[in-house]
Symmetry: C2
Subunit: 560 residues, 2 copies
């Protein structure tokens, strides 16, 4: 499916073009660009967190390059909700054009504002919208629809254009008893379905999961049990954006007469934002500052902390390693991981759990109690949506390829023709006209790596080098030769890192290298690069035969 | 618990000493050493597969060093079953003493013999035993007890010694309807319990899992459904040692008129061994060689392949990447992963699944069908064992710390006193005398790393270097100076790998380095190491301020 790049045709008037710049093929860096009659609308702009095959990379950005020369035509960036994989790349986009209108709900834009502050990005153009509201952005007549998710105030967006209509769900689920009473607005889905949805872009994250996602409030009993049975210190971790999860912890804390202490920068920041805006209801006299925790007995407080994914520098990891400046766990304390376990984080999370258990803590997690539910619609819920909306065309979004396929199969099961169910990956160019969506081309939406303060400098070549260096280390060989006298003046000096500390092992190969270099010099070879090849061949053969390993060889020849 | 090393006291006569050399704190490298009256008995000798924090390491061995000077006192090595984490390190132990008696069941020793062949280890001392049999090894009167697991012919071992008795379960579960009818012998457990079990060493792997492990035969319906609904090519992956799983695939194949092709070296090898010994019943005229596959329609064969954990070089990964020399998947083909998903392998496995789905294959795995059951006893089964054996002392084995703790809690729940339930980790020295087991000390059982053909050369320092190189790459700076004229002759030549391909970025810092070196030389600094420090400081400061990164700095100063 991820065909070779095919240059898309010129975009005809009154045709809508949709290009996913990220999130179709990965879980993360969600972003889509929609274009009609010379204007672009962007939906979401998130980051992807790197896996082990992107060593040293901090963040991965969407394929900005595909729209780099079109930023002046952007009429707005719609942010469906405040998660990192939907807003995390905004600062990097705004570096290229500061005044792109940013459209989203109150909470979403408040969280975004905090992020932009950290990037010292001010005087940006915020436009707060709420569900039910319409907002015309040039060629795009936008209507916003309430959806529920694992963060409050999430929005789906419905677009009316000269080419037809698009309904984009963002991330969503159909919790029928949401804590804040804010339902995914299926009545709106139905109304828009009646009006006609030409292209339905649908969250695929849980499309493989049969049945229905459990309601957030169904974790209350397990939460209650933990509070009821904890007579000492109690620590709860969760995503720092999961306002409803934290709300349940707050309510339980109040019921059990415990104060609440937020630990971890993002937790403190996000909960302040959520409380200030009224999304988090904090009973008077509930919160305590970490620095004041000494004034309370362990059983008088609950610590709400970051670190649910085993992040090495997080508060929880530091507690597990006895490295936390304030919080010291003792046998009988309880730690509750009220959070998901993102694939790839298992070992890190289990390391933290083992550390906590070793300190005598009682650890409750989704593996042994019902303390987490997903934020995404499962297969059963998606079927409801397809049957209510009855879209003309479907484009699964947000997920790995297996998720997109599973979601497409659900659409087809409800009667959407297979040929109108577009399983497209990042960079696919989809044109919508006369009620029919088709893939017409493919543009480059390669990964853009953020590493330290550099954006886009790290290439696949650098990453390949890092993988070799990380697996095998390197051996450097330095030789100074006098090309006139054709003699070796210094060296070979052989040093290794990540290979073997004992450098005496190189004595035999040093002799071989000296011999090989002197022969080459005698043959009149004076070009440093050719002499470096001689070194590379000699030591490469030696190390592979005597160690069956392939470290990076770094020959350095200086001619004087 | 992992206390600072405490030298254990001299071992008194008629006292039994038990030292776990691996597998208590990790899932893998299982090994225990038992000593009484100057003789040692070893139980299992397996490998641990490295995680991401051991970059480039191939295998991790048990803490051999703790018994290195005692090998002549070893009266035998009992191997409970044929899995890598129980027999994989035997070749490395035999390199230190070739003629250690190897005791195990027919299948276990047959699989071990294949492994030792690959390591060119012959004329070793095999002693085949079977369940119910007794074998006296010096001070150790051994009785072997049938247990079932995810490989046939597994054994528990009961030891009678002058100090008391030990029952070691090995890896086991209590499948009450095993495919081969070979039950875990609870009647023997009961009899030995009546006789008196002073120390019960119990598999902890699934101690956290509530309830009972599903019977192997309960995957038959899902397997049958896959065969019944597949009208094209069908590929099944599983662990190459899971004879019963493969047996079910074979039986289904015969029912549905498909021939069977084994793919993957270990699969071909193990299934031949299992069939030759009669553990795998292969109906006549069922097997086909891979090279003959072209003579059959895709729906006439089932391919039984390795690669269930997403191993990059496995047959399945190569099929997913269209790199397999023979097997080309087409839309509509089916791939069944009838296997577990070992923590840490998720991303690799999902990458393979995405690749297969992208080729149009229908992928069935434990996430969407009941096609795998565990090989280890869950909490409910362990409770049965404690109640039937009624041990005087318990030592949970085989698991991460969280597993050991969960298992200990089960023992305590059945009435074993907490102080007689020893949650010990690798290296704990446990003495048994007068029916009481106590931790009396701690010895070093650090990891021994196998990398290429080297064993034990790789140190933590090398791994730390690899982590830095793998995350950040390195920058090397070469300068040749004339210490007499106090002048810089060549350089600084700055090269980077894994940092940035564009070496022009180093121009500004090159000037800084030249300046710094000339100043140092002017101050009379001639020692190459001090000049290298000057380079390190200068470029280190530059890279961290301008890139916020910390690559390894490799300064090389040659003085002429």
């Amino acid at each position: 499916m991820s065909a070779a790049l095919r240059t898309p045709p010129r975009l005809a008037r009154d045709t809508l073009r949709v290009i996913p710049l990220g999130g179709l093929g990965d879980v993360g860096r969600n972003m889509a660009a929609l274009e009609i009659n010379g204007q672009l609308l962007l939906i979401d702009c998130g980051v992807l967190f790197p896996e082990e095959h992107h060593p040293g990379v901090d963040l991965i950005l969407p394929g900005f390059d595909a729209i780099a020369d079109r930023l002046d035509d952007v009429v707005g960036l719609v942010l469906t909700h405040g998660h990192e994989d939907h807003i995390g790349a905004v600062p990097y986009l705004l570096r290229q054009r500061r005044d792109i209108p940013l459209i989203g709900s109150r909470l979403t834009l408040a969280l975004l504002r905090e992020k932009l502050k950290e990037h010292r990005l001010r005087d940006t153009d915020y436009r707060v919208v709420e569900d039910g509201q319409r907002l015309v952005l040039g060629e795009f007549d936008c209507e916003f629809v309430a959806v529920n998710h694992s963060i409050p105030d999430a929005l789906a967006v419905f677009l009316r254009t000269a080419a037809g209509t698009v309904l984009h769900t963002g991330d969503f689920k159909l919790d029928q008893l949401p804590l804040d009473g804010r339902l995914t607005d299926l009545r709106a889905f139905a109304r828009l379905g009646e009006e006609g949805v030409d292209l339905f872009m649908v969250d695929s994250t849980n499309a493989e999961v049969p049945g229905f996602t459990t309601a957030e409030r169904d974790i209350a009993p397990a939460l209650e049990r933990v509070f009821a049975t904890s007579s000492q210190r109690l620590i709860v971790t969760s995503f720092a954006s999961h306002v409803h999860r934290i709300q349940q912890v707050l309510d339980a804390a109040v019921r059990h007469g415990r104060k609440v202490v937020y630990v971890g920068r993002s937790m403190v920041r996000n909960m302040k934002v959520a409380a200030d805006l009224g999304y988090l209801k904090v009973p008077a006299d509930t919160l305590v500052e970490l620095r004041d925790i000494e004034n309370y007995r362990p059983d008088q407080v609950v610590i709400v902390s970051t670190g649910s994914q085993g992040e090495p520098l997080s508060a929880l990891s530091r507690m597990a390693n006895r490295e936390h400046p304030v919080i010291d766990l003792v046998p009988g304390d309880t730690v509750l991981l009220a959070s998901s376990l993102i694939p790839g984080n298992e070992n890190a999370v289990y390391r933290v759990i083992n550390g906590l258990v070793r300190l005598g803590a009682n650890v409750v997690h989704k593996g042994n109690a019902m303390v987490h539910v997903s934020g995404h619609a499962s297969a059963g819920e998606l079927l409801y949506c397809y049957n209510i909306v009855r879209p003309r065309n479907v484009m699964p979004v947000h997920g790995e390829y297996r998720h997109l396929i599973a979601n497409a199969d659900l659409a087809v099961a409800t009667g959407v023709p297979r040929e109108r169910t577009l399983v497209a990956e990042d960079g696919a160019v989809v044109d919508l006209a006369q009620g029919r969506a088709r893939v017409v081309g493919q543009v480059d939406t390669g990964y853009i790596f953020v590493d330290g303060s550099t954006v886009g400098d790290i290439s696949e070549t650098s990453l390949t080098d890092r993988r070799i260096l990380g697996e095998e280390g390197f051996i450097s060989v330095l030789a100074v030769v006098n090309t006139r006298s054709q003699r070796l003046i210094t060296g070979p000096d052989i040093h290794a890192r990540g290979f073997n500390e004992d450098e005496t092992i190189f004595a035999p190969v040093a002799t071989q290298i000296t011999k090989a270099l002197e022969e080459a010099l005698a043959d009149g070879v004076t070009d440093p690069h050719r002499l470096q090849q001689v070194i590379r061949r000699t030591i490469g053969r030696w190390v592979s035969s005597s160690y069956r390993r392939r470290p990076m060889i770094v020959p350095l020849v200086v001619t004087v």
